[in-house]
């Protein structure tokens, strides 16, 4: 994914350099023609609805929650002054951050395995194992956790039968379940960029570290980890933004009462019918995620500049 975006970037650079030829105008027209369907599609189905959403978020509602044609910051004031919503925002970010941290922790060993696979066939097999869950629906993957974690689920049944516990543990319908399911669903998105980063670090760098007296753990912490930070940040950006915006997974394993922003937005739209408030929440969530992702991106850029000039 990481190299993918790079490749697209270099292609784009090359394309923009090509424009400087004598057939510049013709080429440009050609480019726009090719882009037109995509631009139209995004314009109609992304930009336009998004603009409407922004507009909606500034609209007032009356006592019956009917949307009015007057504009104010009242929805945003409600989002950012109510302790309930502030708590929801906080726990949304906290859960996404925890998910990101766990994903990164689990992704490193998996990425190592991918990069150090003993043969090409094994590597292909590992990649298939890693990516194949992405081909099934999130609903199905999350549903498997219900089967495992429920009161009469696989884990409780086994523990009861083994007499480890006397009463079934309640593992479902809480934040822990949400985080567990999140980590499982999003792990591949962390593994792939880290594996790319790992495969780009030369084996001699690890060898140099070891010959200088560093054992394997020291070598990982002082050489491998710093050098794969770009991959880790790329993975973190993807996982964090997915985890902060997911709605199906927390609904299925956490229940609709969990203090998570996507669930609150759903409630406002489908149950309370306060559309402007839902819009303001959506925009707030989006801006928050943008800020955090932007920050991570900035760190990434600084780090790469430090290493490569």
């Amino acid at each position: 994914m990481y190299t993918g975006t790079r490749k697209i970037y270099t292609l784009w650079k090359r394309a923009s350099r090509m424009k400087k030829t004598s057939t510049k105008k013709k080429n440009q027209l050609f480019h726009w023609l090719f882009l037109l369907p995509t631009l139209l599609f995004f314009g109609v189905f992304l930009v336009l609805p998004f603009a409407l959403l922004i507009k909606l978020s500034f609209q007032d509602v009356d006592a019956m929650l009917i949307t009015l044609n007057t504009y104010s910051l009242s929805q945003y004031i409600e989002v950012f002054s109510s302790p309930v919503y502030l708590g929801t925002i906080w726990s949304t970010i906290w859960v996404a951050a925890l998910t990101t941290v766990f994903c990164l922790l689990l992704a490193y060993p998996a990425a190592y395995l991918l990069v150090r696979a003993p043969s090409r066939k094994m590597r292909a097999l590992f990649y298939i194992l890693l990516v194949s869950p992405l081909l099934t629906s999130v609903v199905i993957r999350t549903f498997a956790w219900i089967v495992l974690l429920a009161q009469n689920g696989l884990i409780n049944d086994s523990l009861l039968k083994l007499n480890v516990i006397q009463e079934p543990l309640s593992m479902l319908w809480n934040m822990k379940a949400v985080i567990i399911a999140y980590v499982q669903v999003m792990l591949p998105f962390a593994v792939l960029p880290i594996a790319t980063s790992l495969s780009e670090t030369h084996v001699n760098l690890r060898n140099a570290s070891m010959i200088l007296g560093a054992n394997r753990i020291q070598t990982f912490l002082k050489v491998t980890l710093p050098l794969t930070i770009p991959g880790a940040i790329t993975g973190a950006i993807i996982v964090f933004s997915l985890a902060a915006g997911s709605y199906i997974t927390p609904l299925l394993v956490g229940g609709r009462m969990q203090p998570l922003l996507p669930l609150s937005i759903y409630q406002q739209v489908m149950q309370v019918f306060n559309l402007p408030l839902a819009a303001a929440m959506s925009i707030s969530l989006l801006v928050l995620v943008f800020i955090i992702v932007g920050l991570l991106g900035y760190i990434l850029k600084r780090w790469e500049a430090k290493m490569n000039g």
């Binding site: 001699n204 140099a208 070891m210 010959i211 200088l212 007296g213 000039g309």
Partner: protein, 369 residues
């Protein structure tokens, strides 16, 4: 006491034998080169000494201690890699301090040691730079300083100069030797560049096909190669195959005549050789070696009966200080290196050249496998 003993070391990769039963002792303070074509096993041997690879068989001793099963970080070695392997996220100072920090030395000690190492490679003013801000030669020096800063018992050099351009490589060779002698550290250089190995080393080990073909001083391996492989690998060589015959009788001057069946002179007869050395005949055949620079040129016929041939020039390349010629006999070719004649006109392909050499220049060689 930082001798290295390599005792019957072998390494197999699946069915491939990368290294077959190598035994070798590298002396304290010695500059030793492992020389060989790619795939000869020299990197495998270096990696076994460094601890990155375990030998399939055999034992490695460093400073009298069996290190065969020790990981690289317990061997107290210094190593310079082909791509330098400087840590890109650390400054020059931090790169050199890396091994010292691992050893938990005090900040003051580290500072002193890094400055000392930087002074050794004359890069004092570059301490704050990052590797990408340095030229190839400077990165090379930092890599040397980093390896030496931990005061290793042995310095390993894995083709350290092959990424530098020709002129810089010469300079660095000189400097490498200089540093090595000042520090007095036992050094092993792995290289495929014979000139580099010969000019730097006290002794050279030539590896071919996974076996140690010869160990000797640069002089020995060039003048007295142990076998055909070494002769052909170190410098260029003309090989004459001779057959055992009745005529192999010494002359009053102590020279013995042979007929080179691999070469025929203009009279369509085996080329007549006269040598002072006695070859060992195997299955009735033996080999003589003649270095290209020992052959002399004449532009008129000479009255010689042996070690002389009338030839036709095939190819010539002028490399400034020398002429490199390839000439044809009736059967077989000879390679000739001769100093630039300066004032004379250079011969052209097709020209007839008369070549001759001294009996002492024919070196009897052990035939290859």
């Amino acid at each position: 006491m930082s001798e290295i003993h390599i005792d019957h070391v072998s390494r197999h990769f699946d069915d491939n034998i990368a290294l077959a039963d190598v035994s070798l002792t590298i002396k304290e303070g010695e500059f030793f080169s492992l020389l060989g074509p790619s795939g000869c096993g020299k990197s495998t041997l270096l990696n076994i000494i460094a601890g990155f690879l375990e030998p399939t068989d055999g034992v490695v001793h460093i400073s009298g201690k069996d290190v065969t099963n020790l990981p690289p970080y317990r061997r107290n070695l210094g190593m310079v890699f082909q791509n330098y392997a400087l840590f890109p996220h650390l400054t020059v100072f931090e790169n050199i301090a890396y091994g010292l920090k691992i050893k938990k030395m005090s900040r003051q000690e580290i500072k002193e040691r890094v400055e000392e190492s930087l002074a050794l490679v004359q890069l004092e003013q570059f301490a704050g730079r990052r590797p990408h801000q340095l030229s190839g030669g400077q990165q090379q020096r930092v890599a040397i300083a980093r390896a030496l800063a931990v005061r290793p018992s042995v310095l390993l050099l894995d083709e350290p100069l092959s990424n530098l351009d020709a002129k810089l490589r010469k300079e660095m060779q000189f400097e490498l030797r200089n540093i090595q002698q000042r520090v007095g550290i036992t050094t092993i250089l792995v290289t495929h560049d014979q000139e580099e190995a010969l000019s730097l080393s006290d002794r050279v080990g030539i590896l071919g096909k996974g076996r140690l073909q010869q160990v000797g001083t640069p002089l020995e391996v060039y003048r007295a190669p142990a076998n055909q492989f070494v002769a052909e690998f170190i410098g260029q060589v003309n090989l004459f195959e001779v057959a055992l015959s009745q005529t192999n009788q010494p002359s009053p001057a102590g020279e013995i005549s042979y007929e080179a069946i691999s070469h025929m002179d203009g009279n369509i007869q085996p080329l007549a050789l006269a040598a002072t050395q006695k070859p060992e005949f195997k299955n009735g055949q033996a080999l003589f070696m003649l270095r290209p620079e020992r052959i002399q040129l004449a532009f008129v016929p000479l009255d010689l009966t042996a070690n002389y041939a009338e030839t036709r020039l095939l190819e010539m390349s002028y490399v400034g200080n020398a002429l490199r010629l390839k000439v044809a006999l009736a059967k077989g070719e000879l390679v000739i290196h001769t100093p630039d004649p300066m004032f004379a006109e250079l011969p052209k392909p097709g020209d007839v050249l008369y070549v001759y050499w001294n009996p002492e220049d024919l070196y009897a060689l052990e035939a290859g496998e």
